[in-house]
Symmetry: C2
Subunit: 74 residues, 2 copies
């Protein structure tokens, strides 16, 4: 299933859904990605200033692949 990511709030929801679907707690996910529970909480709340690298790590841990689709494309 594909989710568009227009903003950080939306991303937060996606992360939360994926995490719950896999029966993980925030603490579990934090452990898997080498971050802290605070970071996961902030991310799920849509914090704008979360660091990109860690966000990608979290997504990867959840088995979520990111794609950029160009409208103009080519």
């Amino acid at each position: 299933m594909d989710h568009q990511i227009p903003n950080t709030k939306e991303l937060g929801l996606i992360v939360r859904d994926a995490r719950k679907q896999q029966g993980l707690t925030q603490e579990d996910l934090a452990g898997l990605t080498g971050t802290g529970r605070r970071f996961i909480s902030d991310l799920e709340q849509g914090k704008e200033t979360a660091e990109l690298g860690k966000v990608l790590a979290v997504l990867a841990s959840l088995g979520l692949a990111l794609f950029a689709h160009s409208k103009w494309s080519k």
Copy 2:
């Protein structure tokens, strides 16, 4: 055209390509997104710690839509 984004380096390349395709300088893009030229340069170089919200703003300015695709999906 779709690009996968496994890490920040890859994202940097995607941003740069899209920017050039549209004939924009880093300064132009920085202006469009309300950031600084330094941020754009860092981003294109794959800086891990770039702030998520600004990254999304840059992608939007370039007409790039982001998608999360779940492997397990459903």
